[in-house]
């Protein structure tokens, strides 16, 4: 293992952590690159679901319409929760980024930010679940019409992704205490942060295309 300084060119766009060696940096770079590629593939899934949603708007078959199911107030709070969670994850990343001294204090702060992120994610999921239950109470269930099927699948797929991230995060925290900030953990933290921000971007699209559209209809 060569342990020369890591040239800036080797650093990927994303979260830079403390690297033990050039080799480690290269390895992490390619591992993270793979996740970028996965996200591209995942983005195609969301693109298709958005397209599907677009074609479904009129297919309400006399049932609830977009205007009638969309409630802007909870959507606004959900957006705030998710965007804040991205910010707190960013703060955690900054703590993890201390390249020269990753002390106990930094770790505590990083863990604190991550736990806050986690709580925000759970709150988001809770609100989303509440939305679906409310909708079901109003008869807006997925098997009512193509529109409601498409609506549910678009938002539900995003929700499932958030759920995945919410399950993933405590696992990484556990590993941080078990193994310290080792290479696999660094890779997975970077991946999770990318995933988290990706879901934020998807949510912004959902907010603009689903909720705002519902509000002006």
């Amino acid at each position: 293992m060569s342990s020369g300084p890591v040239s800036p060119a080797l650093r990927h766009a994303g979260l830079n952590l403390k690297y033990a060696s050039r080799e480690e940096a290269e390895q992490i770079e390619s591992d993270v690159f793979g996740f970028w590629v996965f996200l591209m593939s995942d983005a195609v899934i969301f693109a298709l679901l958005f397209a599907l949603f677009g074609t479904s708007l009129e297919a309400t078959v006399g049932g609830p319409t977009l205007a009638s199911v969309v409630k802007l107030a909870p959507a606004f709070i959900e957006t705030a929760l998710l965007l804040t969670s991205s910010f707190t994850f960013g703060m955690a990343s900054i703590e993890l980024k201390r390249t020269h001294k990753f002390t106990r204090r930094h770790r505590h702060r990083a863990v604190g930010w991550l736990l806050l992120t986690w709580a925000l994610g759970i709150a988001f999921l809770g609100m989303e679940a509440h939305d679906f239950v409310t909708m079901a109470g109003e008869g807006a269930v997925p098997d009512r019409s193509f529109f409601l099927s498409a609506y549910t699948v678009l938002i539900g797929t995003h929700g499932l992704h958030v759920l995945t991230a919410v399950i993933w995060l405590p696992i990484l925290l556990m590993q941080m205490y078990m193994f310290g900030l080792d290479r696999p953990l660094k890779v997975n933290l970077i991946r999770l942060s990318l995933f988290w921000h990706f879901l934020d971007i998807v949510w912004i699209a959902i907010f603009s295309i689903v909720f705002l559209q519902g509000a002006i209809r």
């Binding site: 690159f33 593939s41 599907l52 297919a59 078959v61 193509f146």
Partner: protein, 705 residues
């Protein structure tokens, strides 16, 4: 056929009843159709039992588990992919013969099988050939060859590689299970709703299709990510993009297509599952559902899929033609550009799969023109291959024969493709055997010939001995002749108006053509049988055909610069690349078979049981979903997720090969190389061929002296 069950039995076994077993159905209704079904089921069961018994008798379970099932070695995974493809090819080809027999015997007569059974036959034939024969075959070749060609030790994500393989294997297992438990879809390989919706297909058939295909598409997506990352990030120093062998280029384009084209398939199968399981209304007749969303998304996958199938074969042909013409590839840059152009254009033509479904003349015209555009880069490739052969030292080895047959046959298929790309003409022949003839004309030469050629070309690399050329030529004659006999009559029949997927035929004038086509199918099967005979004969006579030095064809890429079979770590020292055709250049410039100055320890991934565990769990989860056995589905869904989580806690994932061992293995091989007699091209098919090509001058000063 499938009855809803209730109460405790339903909680435990879902919709599974005795009537799900084809044997019970054949007992209750001993018609020829049911007996054929039961026979096929028995073949699967007896085959599985025989295999288990054989392995147990040989005491090979531990060996298989430690050396193969849990391996993360890209070479072994590649071999397992090809093996899987071989098994599935055999089944799907038997089904093809049944399809042809049915149509040839059912002229104003009932024929062998009932309509529902016939529909299952063409559905499984298509689904298997695309998802469980062609895909595993090409993924297998890519897996084996690409890391060796770019000078890498393994794929970027060996663990993901294993998971991808086992997901594909689980999908194949579901295809096999449908033969003995229940039934398969009757909706064709494309599974068009609303026919595949609950309202019209109430049984488990479409569910088998949905979950088998979903597993396969998930597996393929992981392969796409893996191959793309490997090529982007793990090329040896100096191996610029324009120095890569062409097979790497076509693999890269295939991988990128997989990354972008597999998600639509995943989405579409899961949405159909939403309709069938949760009562949603994506593609249903009522509830606002719109089948056109399915058609668009399915072919948004389906058309790039055509190029996923064909591009790797283009890569194989490029390697084979160049090696067996002893010439560098003509027009390398144009071949690269053509490959990338095809990859991009493949996303612009999906609508030509449903010209007749009502989009209007303007839209059809645009897609028709886009479709014809693909002919241009493809034509460029054909000319490049021809010019590669021009004035080369062409040897008609079996892979080369397949390549030449491909070029001629594929061009004819391309012409009929132009006919189909013209919307008014497509209206005339769509949904007839003309279309069936066309896509077989593209996929048999364009995929299967390429895969067989690749298998024969790289077999000596993987196993250290050549395949028997005589049986190779016999097999080639059957595949080439059988293709024309089996599919050219279908052009005639299709132009005469015979609809595809027809269980009974009412025009006696079709009889002679159907007979010729049946005969052709038998010849094709003989081609497959001779492949197996070739394998058997070659293994039997392997002592005479050893090529341990690893370069039996005087070929050009880095994969030939290592021993056959290659060491687990591929390269004792990662090579530095200064040219295209790196190994060929080195052979001619005293750079080959040279001892390294210094050997280093090599880290390799440890074996991992997660791949097979996730595969089995995912397969069982899908089985539970198919039969509505919710406890099995949730139990095994949890099992696969927990396996992934548990694996992330594992830290001790690599093992180290000490430098001394690497050096010893390398020196032994180099000593062999310097002791071997180089073989001239005229004798490469004789037992004199030890894998050292003539023209190479061992440089004693740099060698072992």
């Amino acid at each position: 056929m499938i009855t809803e069950t209730h109460g405790i039995a339903h909680a435990l076994l879902g919709n599974l009843t005795w009537a799900a077993l084809p044997y019970v159905r054949a007992w209750r209704d001993p018609s020829l159709s049911e007996i054929i079904g039961a026979g096929a089921g028995s073949m699967v069961v007896l085959g599985a039992i025989a295999l288990f018994a054989l392995i147990t008798w040989l005491g090979k379970w531990r060996y298989l588990w430690t050396e193969w099932f849990t391996t993360l070695d890209h070479k072994k995974l590649g071999i397992m992919y090809v093996l899987l493809a071989g098994v599935m090819l055999t089944r799907a080809l038997i089904e093809a013969m049944l399809i042809r027999t049915q149509q040839a015997t059912a002229i104003n007569a009932p024929g062998l099988v009932e309509p529902g059974h016939f529909a299952q036959l063409f559905t499984t034939h298509g689904s298997i050939m695309v998802f469980f024969m062609a895909m595993p075959f090409l993924i297998g070749l890519i897996n084996y060859v690409v890391p060796l060609q770019i000078g890498a030790r393994d794929m970027a994500f060996p663990y993901l590689n294993s998971v991808g393989f086992w997901l594909t294997a689980a999908g194949s297992a579901l295809m096999m299970a449908s033969l003995t438990i229940g039934e398969f879809s009757t909706g064709g390989w494309s599974g068009y709703p609303p026919y595949t919706e609950l309202a019209y297909s109430g049984g488990v058939g479409p569910d088998y299709w949905i979950w088998a295909v979903s597993l396969s598409s998930l597996g393929s997506m992981t392969v796409g990510i893996n191959v793309a990352c490997t090529i982007f990030k793990f090329r040896a120093p100096g191996m610029g993009f324009m120095r890569m062998p062409l097979f790497c280029w076509t693999s890269l384009c295939t991988a990128i297509l997989m990354i972008f084209a597999m998600p639509p398939l995943t989405v579409v199968t899961l949405l159909l599952a939403g309709d069938r399981y949760l009562g949603m209304h994506f593609f249903t007749d009522g509830g606002g559902g719109n089948m056109m969303n399915y058609a668009n998304m399915f072919w948004l996958f389906g058309h790039p899929e055509v190029y996923i199938l064909i591009l790797p074969a283009f890569g194989v042909f490029s390697e084979v033609i160049s090696a067996f013409s002893s010439k560098e590839l003509y027009g390398y840059t144009s071949l690269v550009l053509a490959t990338t152009a095809i990859a991009v254009l493949s996303f612009t033509v999906w609508l030509h799969h449903f010209f007749t479904m009502g989009q209007g003349a303007d839209v059809n015209a645009a897609f028709g023109i886009a479709t014809m555009t693909i002919g241009i880069p493809t034509g460029v490739k054909i000319y490049d291959w021809i010019f590669t052969m021009f004035r080369g030292e062409v040897r008609f080895t079996p892979p080369m024969l397949f390549s030449i047959a491909f070029m001629m046959t594929f061009v004819i298929g391309g012409f009929t493709g132009i006919i189909l790309a013209t919307p008014p003409l497509d209206y005339m022949v769509h949904d007839t055997l003309f279309l069936v003839a066309h896509f077989h004309n593209m996929l048999i030469p364009g995929t299967l010939y390429g895969m067989i050629a690749g298998y024969m070309f790289w077999f000596p690399k993987a196993f250290g001995f050549r395949l028997n050329e005589r049986w190779g030529r016999i097999s080639f004659s059957c595949w080439a002749g059988g293709f024309f006999l089996a599919f050219f009559p279908l052009y005639v029949l299709g132009a005469a108006g015979m609809a595809r997927r027809t269980q009974e035929v009412f025009d006696p004038a079709f009889r002679p053509w159907l007979y010729i086509a049946l005969f052709g199918a038998l010849v094709l099967f003989a081609g497959l049988a001779s492949l197996f005979i070739q394998l058997y004969v070659s293994i039997r006579d392997r002592a005479e055909n050893m090529v341990p030095i690893g370069d039996p064809w005087d070929a050009r890429g880095l994969e030939w610069s290592v021993s056959a079979p290659p060491p687990e770590w591929n390269f004792a020292v990662i090579p530095h690349v200064g040219n295209r055709d790196a190994f060929y250049w080195r052979k001619r410039n005293h750079g080959a078979y040279v001892r390294a100055d210094q050997y280093k320890d090599i880290e390799l991934p440890k074996n991992l049981m997660c791949g097979p565990v996730i595969g089995v769990a995912a397969g069982l989860c899908c089985f539970g979903l198919i039969w509505h056995i919710w406890w099995i589905a949730s139990l095994f869904a949890a099992a696969s997720v927990l396996t992934v989580i548990a694996r992330s806690f594992q830290r001790d994932t690599t093992r180290t090969i000490p430098a001394a061992e690497v050096e010893a293995v390398d020196r032994r091989w180099l000593a062999g190389a310097h002791a071997s007699r180089p073989v001239p091209r005229q004798q490469e098919e004789t037992s004199l061929n030890q894998g050292l090509a003539e023209g190479f001058e061992p440089d004693r000063a740099h060698g072992l002296a």
